[in-house]
Structures are given as C-alpha cells and as structure tokens.
C-alpha cells in the first residue's frame, strides 16, 4: 500500500490517519482496518460494521433503541444506506452476523463520505455546547418529529375495549395545560438568559459575541465542574485540525479507493456479475423498516391537492384579469399613447416581471436555507455607544446572520398560516358533525362552547 502511494511512507497513511482522527472519539477505527478491508480480510468486518453503525446513529436519530445486537445494527446501517440510495447488491447481501464483507463496507463508507458529507455532518453534530443555542425553525422540534413517522403505534396497554370520549378530552386538556406551563417556563428562561447576557456584556474576548453564554458563566463560577468540557473542546480542536489535514490529502484517498475497486474487480473476475443482480429480489433484501414510504405518498398527495387549489385560484384570477385587460386595451386603443412608447413600456414591464419570476423560480426550486437550523443566540445592544460593532463579523457568516425582527416576522407569518389551516380543519369537522346531527332523528346536538 505504501509502495503504491509513491515509494514512500507518505500521503496515503497520512490521509487515512487524518480521516480517522477527524472522526469522533468514540468511533475511531484503527487505520490498519482500511488496509485489511481493501483485501477483504474478514477480521476487519465487525469493526467496520460498528463504525458505520455508530457514525450513522449520530446523524440519524432513530434506529433501534432497545437491542444493540449485531443483527439490528446491521439492519439499521443497511436501511440508512438504502435511504440514501446506495445500490450495490453485494452490500445488501452481506450476512447479518457481521463476519465478512469488509471490502464492501469500505466501499459503502467511502460512498457515504461523499454522499452525505459524512465528516462535516459528524463535526457539526458533535459540536461542543458552550454557546447558547437555539434554532431558527421548528423542523427539528421533538414534538413534531415523532409525528411524521408514526404509522403503526404500539398498542396501549390497559386500554379497555372502549374509551370514553371524556378520557380523550381530559388528555387533551392535560396537553393544553402542559403547553401553558411550558410557555411560562420558557418565558422565565428568556428573562434569566437576558439578564445573564446583559450582565456579562463586554467581557467576552470574542468581539462578535461580547457576552458570556450560560455555560461560560457557569464555567467561571464552578471551574471544577467543567474539566470534561475542556477536554471535549481540546478533542474537538484536534478533530478540526485533522479535518483540515484530510482536506489537503483527499485526492490520495480517492485514488486509493479506485485501486480498491480494481482489486475487487480482479477478485470477482470469475463470478458472473449478472447473476448477482437479479433485480427486485436482490434489493428487496434490504430491510426497509426504518423508512416508510406511505407517509411520503400521503404528504405528496396533500401537497398536490394544495397546489391544485392554488393553481385553480390563480387560473380564475388570471382569466378574469386578462379579459379586463383586453377590454381596457380595446377601450384605450383610440386614445392611446404613441405606439412606440406603448410597446416600450410594455417591454420594460416584461423585463421587470421576468426578473421577479426568475428569482421566484430559483427560490421554489432550491432549499431554503436562510431561516433553518441551529443558531447561536447573541445579545447585541442597539445602543450606539456599544463598543461592539459589526465590523469584525466574518464575511461568510455575516450573510447568514439573522436578526430577531426578521425571525419574528417569519414566525408570525408561519403562525398565521397554521392558524388558518387549523381553523379550516375545525370548520370541516364541525360542518360534518352538523350534517351527521341533522341526519339523526330526535337528536339534538349541542356543540361544545366556543372558547
């Protein structure tokens, strides 16, 4: 291996070493594993399975919570790879005791490195929490995440055959109460956080922030409690350095991976590739219990419905306006401006609209990144005498920095949208109920009090 790297113990071991050091501390493989895997040595397989499992678990929350057996781990890894579109049949055919297949695993690992920016994801997921963080969106909210994946729910133990509607109402009431308490608690936390930020303003050496975070203040108060934090910071620093090193040496690694493919091609020479891939049955071996397609289709249908309604609405308005416009034009033809001027004006309008629309199209086709993801909460006094300026903020991040007022506007719009949707659903329900009630003879339906 070293010989292939060019006659010296040089870039390849360094590249693999950097790669290993950039991985999180608990999941680091021995660099030798890679070499063993290239030649498909079975002793490397369990380690590679473990590696993949622990790395993917960090990125994808989910997977098996109960058992940690090799079997379930392997299934998790396979389903994640399936989720990302990895299509090598040999990989999915690997036995679930994890005894063989190190080369396949190496290939899968390298493919993941590229496909999901594995290293960057891991670095970002394992970021040491020393800053006051919050999120710009509610996508990652636990309260919402659990909804999307719920298909088969575990049966409730102790549930009688029938449930009184009042039990459901009671649960609902409890939920409302919990929300209210949460609200109160959150407001309290805001107050405390604000105080801490204001009090420590001006003391931080990092000028873009200016004040301490809660963790940092606690670090000052009780330095002894935070030894582990310091160690984590140190390890993160070394991981970042390894990452930068890896970026330099990346080409070497990928070239080496090609040689792995070559080696494999040689070994497989005798087997007929066509037999391996037998369409459906092969990939069907991939356990897909971890991603469910039903919800997706449901979502797509719902979205289609919404878009169709929107499209119809647009259609109506457009036809209406078009006819108006034509009439206007006809009416104006007599007292019209100069033909040239008119067409000029029209041309200008066309251009402006095109610009607007192209921007819109771009936004519709691409991931909206501005108001998403985690962010760091920073207090910035609007007082002009504040010694902190924006001068030092780094250019790239400055693009992404968000002000509270922007976020508030965004959230308000979202809130309005959701409220409308909820009201619509409730109306629908009410409407149907009245229908049902009307259909029942000698039954008076008393709807609940409107709060």
């Amino acid at each position: 291996m070293q010989r292939r790297a060019g006659g010296r113990a040089g870039p390849l071991p360094a590249a693999i070493g950097a790669l290993c050091r950039a991985l999180p501390l608990g999941s680091r493989p021995a660099p030798d594993t890679f070499r063993l895997a290239k030649f498909d040595r079975p002793q490397a397989s369990p380690e590679l399975w473990r590696l993949l499992y622990s790395l993917l678990k960090q990125i994808h929350e989910g997977g098996c919570t109960k058992s940690d057996t090799i079997d379930t781990q392997i299934r998790f890894v396979k389903s994640v790879l399936r989720y990302h579109g990895y299509g090598r049949p040999e990989f999915y055919q690997l036995p679930s005791d994890g005894s063989v297949g190190s080369r396949e695993l190496l290939l899968a690992f390298s493919w993941l490195l590229h496909r999901i920016n594995l290293l960057e994801q891991l670095l970002s997921v394992n970021r040491v929490k020393i800053r006051d963080e919050t999120s710009l969106c509610t996508c990652g909210d636990n309260l919402l995440k659990s909804w999307k994946g719920m298909t088969e729910l575990a049966p409730e133990h102790g549930l009688k055959n029938e449930v009184d509607i009042r039990y459901l109402q009671w649960l609902n009431g409890r939920l409302r109460f919990q929300w209210r308490s949460l609200h109160v608690d959150y407001q309290e936390q805001c107050k405390l956080l604000y105080k801490i930020h204001v009090y420590t303003n001006g003391s931080h050496m990092d000028q873009t922030v200016g004040h301490f975070s809660v963790t940092e203040t606690d670090l000052i108060r009780q330095p002894d409690n935070y030894k582990q934090l310091m160690q984590l910071l140190e390890s993160e620093t070394s991981r970042l350095e390894a990452f930068l090193e890896w970026k330099q040496l990346e080409p070497v690694y990928w070239q080496w991976m090609e040689t792995v493919l070559d080696t494999m091609a040689e070994d497989v020479f005798t087997c007929s590739a066509q037999d391996i891939c037998s369409k459906k049955t092969t990939l069907a071996n991939a356990p897909l219990c971890y991603c469910s397609a039903d919800n997706i289709v449901e979502e797509i249908d719902q979205l289609t419905k919404d878009l169709v309604i929107l499209g119809d609405g647009l259609c109506d308005v457009v036809t209406c306006k078009k006819s108006e416009w034509h009439e206007k034009i006809k009416g104006r033809e007599r007292e019209l401006l100069d033909e040239k001027e008119f067409s000029e004006a029209i041309g200008k309008i066309h251009k402006a609209v095109e610009l607007k629309l192209s921007e819109l199209k771009y936004q519709c086709a691409h991931k909206k990144n501005k108001m998403h993801g985690p962010c760091r909460l920073v207090f910035k006094d609007k007082h002009p005498a504040s010694k902190m300026g924006f001068g030092r903020s780094r250019a790239k991040e400055a693009l992404m920095n968000v002000s509270a007022s922007e976020l508030i506007n965004e959230l308000r719009m979202k809130e309005a949208r959701l409220e409308k949707e909820l009201k619509q659903l409730q109306e629908e329900c009410r409407h149907k109920l009245t229908e049902v009630a009307d259909g029942m003879d000698s039954v008076i339906c008393i709807p609940p009090m409107k709060r």
């Binding site: 994801q121 509610t138 970042l240």
Partner: protein
C-alpha cells in the same frame, strides 16, 4: 363511547405528545435551575487544598509543599513588617467613616508601597489565603484607619454595604464554630493559620474576622472596601482581602491574583477587625469583572479560528475530480433497478416544494391588491401568469416524486415480508435535520431586547403547538370519519 380501535390511536398520539412536553419541561427545568444558580448568590469557593491540587494539576503545575511553606514564611514576615508600620500610623486621631474616605487613600498608600516591594511571586492560590489568614488575625485597629481603602467612585457603596451587613451576621454564626483560630495575637494566629492553611483556607479568615468583631462601624468601610476591591482586582492599590476571597472563584489567573493579594495583605493588617465578609455575591455585582479562565480562552480562540477555517475550506479541484471519478465508477456497479431518486432526495424535494407552495400563495395574496395604473395592472397580470406556470411546474415535479415514492414503496413491500423486521422496536427516522447553507457554520441570531427574545420564544412555541393541534385534528378526523355511518357516535375532539 369511542371504539377501542380509533381511540387507541388518538390516545397514543395524545400520550406521546404529553411525554414530549414533559421531556421538554424537564430539560427546561434543568436549564432554569442552572440560570437561577448563576443569577443568585455565588458561593465563594472554599478551595480546600485537595481542590487546589486538582486545579493546579489541571494547569500542569505541581509545586512541592515545601516551596509553598517557604513562600508562606516570606509572606508572613513581610506582613509582620507592614504591621509594624501600621502601628505607627495608628497613632493618628480617628475620624468618621465618611471623612476617612479621603484618608483611606493616603493611609493605604504608604502601606501599599511597602507591600509592593515585598511582593513575593506566588503561583498558588493557597498562599494568598494563608496570607489573608495571618493578616486578618491582627489585633483590632481603630475602625477609621482600618478603612484605609481606595474608593472607586463609580461603585455604588450603599447597596453593597447593605448586602454585607445583611450577610455578615449570617456568616459569622456558621463560620465561627469551624474555626480553630481565635484570639488577637498575630503570632499565634499566624502559626495556627499556617497549620490550618492546608485545610481551612478561607474559613479561617472569616472566622478570625468574626471572632474579633468590635463595633459595627468598621464594617461599612470594610464592606465598601470589599466591593471596591472586588471591583478592581487588577489594581494593586486596592486592598482588601475581600478581593481575594470574592475574586478567587472567578479568576483562575493565579499570577495576577496573587499579586493583588500580596499587596492587599498589609492592608488587611490595618483592618481592626475583619468583619464577617459576605461569602456570597452575585453576578450583578461582579458583572464587568468576570474573566474566563485563560486556558479556556486559549482553547476557545483556537477552536473558533479552526471552525472559521473549516467553514471556508473548499474541496480542491483535484480532490473533487478524483472523488467524482470514484463515485461514478462505483455507481456503475449499482443494481439497475435502483430508483434514481433516493428516499432522502424525495424528502428533500418535498420540503422544497412545501416552501415553494407557501411562497407562491403568499405572492398570490400580495398581488391581489388593487392596482391604480394600467402599468401595474399589466405587471400584476404577468406576475400571476408566471405564478401559474411555476405552480404547474411544481405539480409536475410532485408527480415525478410520487412515482418515485411509489416504486420505493413497492420495493419496501416485498422485503417487509421476508425480512421479518420487528417494527415494534424500531423508530423510523425521517432523515437529517434541516441544514444551513454550510453545515459547519452556525449563524448568529442577534436580539437587542428582552421583548424580542420573548416574542421569538413564544412564537416558536405557538407554531409547534399549532402543528401538533393540526396533527391531532387530522388524526381525529380520519378516525372519526371511518365510523361515519355508525349511529350513536358522540362528538369527537374538535
């Protein structure tokens, strides 16, 4: 009564929601406790030597105890010298506390100068404490002289004085029993202090002060002094053991701390009696004085610089080329029946289309306003037409995605059977969290007032709650209308 079948789903949804809420509250409680502890009284550390050893170990220093005792000796001698100086100064007539302020500075200065020359560089926190001990256990000097401290104008004295007054009595009672040091002779107390140092640390100091309490008036200048000294620990002119005590937990820079301590010690000798110093203080009091430990500062700046570099780090062209080549090659070995769009991509595209939908409907509403000139009318017409085309494009894409999702589903369906996967203990994952432009960079959210922060939090919570309500509503609706025809069905959750 709701039949068990549909009730089960609703009940589990509601229970799940309650569990999530409870978990959020738990996390919130924990962080609230932490914040409240930070804003409340900070207990002054009584770093017994084991603690000290630990902290010094972490800093990589491991000085032998012998050296410590040596320095102790030197310091004690220095203090004794200063005391003698002080004694002579004490001959001057006493003045009122208020008037003493002017004198404080002058009185302090000679002593301060004396102490500065006798500074012994110390690197351990324990040493300053012992010094404090020895110095504190001086015989009572008249109050006015004792309050020979430099007052710093900006500091509010009254508040702090009141605080110390309040605290002092409380501290005394708790501290005195634990102290072995009593009496007023400096000799004995310093001896005891020396022996006690490894164990008692500041406890001794406080106790000594308490036991020698004379009158109440000295307390105020002392306490004032404390807060001032506290306010400016880097200023060597400022004396006050309080500075030591209070500053210690905050500043892990033993060097500067020790220096200030040394200068203060002679001053402390002037204190007639060391009134029980408040052993707690708050974040508010020390707010502008706090400094992060130097080790942390170093690590933090290194860390943030590295993050910056990593964010800006681009994949070199060579790396990209080799990587893509490998990936293409490996993709040729993929099974042909693999759908071209992976489930991850489908989900991503759906999210994009969700956003597109809201954007489009928002624009639609915006354009529906009245227009005055014919130009704006025409513009509006064109924009709406453009929106229409975009909507149909989105619809086409959705159809594509639907087909892809269906084929994935078919693939899944034939595997579920033979794989025999135990769906009971698997929680389906929905994919990665929403990302930023660059995964590595974390944007900053700037807020400038408490109200903004409150609004953000309240709105986020409201949005989450509304989403949950909508989900519950949808579930209830789907459950309810399954049994539409069943008579006698009571009303459902609305």
């Amino acid at each position: 009564m709701v039949p068990a079948g549909c009730a089960r789903r609703l009940v589990s949804i509601l229970n799940r929601a309650l569990e999530d809420c409870a978990e959020q509250r738990r996390k919130l409680d924990h962080s609230l406790n932490q914040c409240q502890a930070l804003l409340g009284d900070w207990k002054i550390h009584v770093p017994e030597s084991p603690k000290l050893e630990v902290s010094t170990k972490s800093e990589g220093e491991n000085e032998p105890a012998a050296k410590e005792l040596e320095e102790l000796e030197l310091l004690t001698r220095a203090l004794e010298k200063v005391l003698r100086v002080r004694k002579s100064v004490l001959e001057t007539p006493l003045q009122t506390v208020g008037a003493a302020e002017g004198e404080k500075t002058s009185d302090k200065k000679p002593a301060a100068k004396a102490s500065i020359t006798e500074q012994v560089p110390v690197s351990k926190e324990s040493i300053p404490k012992t010094i404090k001990v020895t110095s504190l256990s001086k015989k009572p000097v008249t109050s006015k002289k004792a309050s020979a401290y430099v007052l710093k104008a900006p500091y509010r004295t009254d508040l702090d004085v009141k605080r110390s007054h309040r605290k002092a009595p409380a501290q005394q009672s708790s501290r005195i029993p634990r102290v072995a040091v009593k009496g007023s002779t400096k000799g004995t107390s310093s001896q005891q202090a020396k022996t006690n140092v490894p164990v008692m640390g500041r406890k001794v100091i406080y106790a000594a002060a308490g036991s020698q309490q004379a009158c109440g008036s000295p307390r105020s200048p002392l306490c004032k002094e404390q807060s001032f000294a506290f306010g400016d620990s880097t200023n060597h002119e400022n004396s006050g053991a309080a500075n030591l005590q209070l500053a210690n937990p905050e500043k892990n820079s033993p060097g500067s701390l020790a220096e200030s301590l040394v200068t203060q010690n002679p001053m402390a000798g002037d204190i007639p009696e060391w009134s029980p110093t408040p052993q707690t203080c708050t974040l508010w009091e020390k707010r502008s004085l706090l400094k992060l430990p130097p080790l942390y500062r170093k690590t933090y700046s290194r860390n943030s610089r590295l993050w910056e570099t990593c964010c800006l780090c681009q994949t070199s062209a060579a790396a990209a080329a080799t990587r893509n080549h490998f990936v293409e090659r490996i993709q040729t070995t993929f099974c042909p029946s693999t759908p071209t769009i992976s489930p991850a991509e489908i989900e991503e595209e759906i999210n994009v289309l969700h956003d597109a939908y809201s954007l489009l409907s928002h624009r639609f509403k915006a354009e529906n306003t009245g227009h005055t000139t014919w130009q704006s009318e025409y513009e509006c017409l064109l924009t709406l037409e453009g929106l229409q085309t975009t909507v149909s494009q989105c619809l086409n894409k959705l159809q594509q995605l639907r087909r892809a999702a269906e084929s994935q589903g078919r693939l899944q369906a034939c595997c579920i059977g033979d794989a025999g996967c135990p769906s009971a203990d698997c929680t389906p994952f929905r994919g990665q969290q929403c990302g930023n432009m660059s995964v590595l960079a974390v944007p900053l959210l700037y807020y400038s007032s408490l109200q903004e922060l409150r609004d953000i939090t309240a709105l986020k919570l409201q949005v989450a709650m509304l989403c949950q309500k909508i989900n519950i509503q949808k579930a209830a609706r789907s459950e309810a209308w399954q049994h539409e025809d069943q008579p006698g069905l009571a009303g459902h959750d609305n």
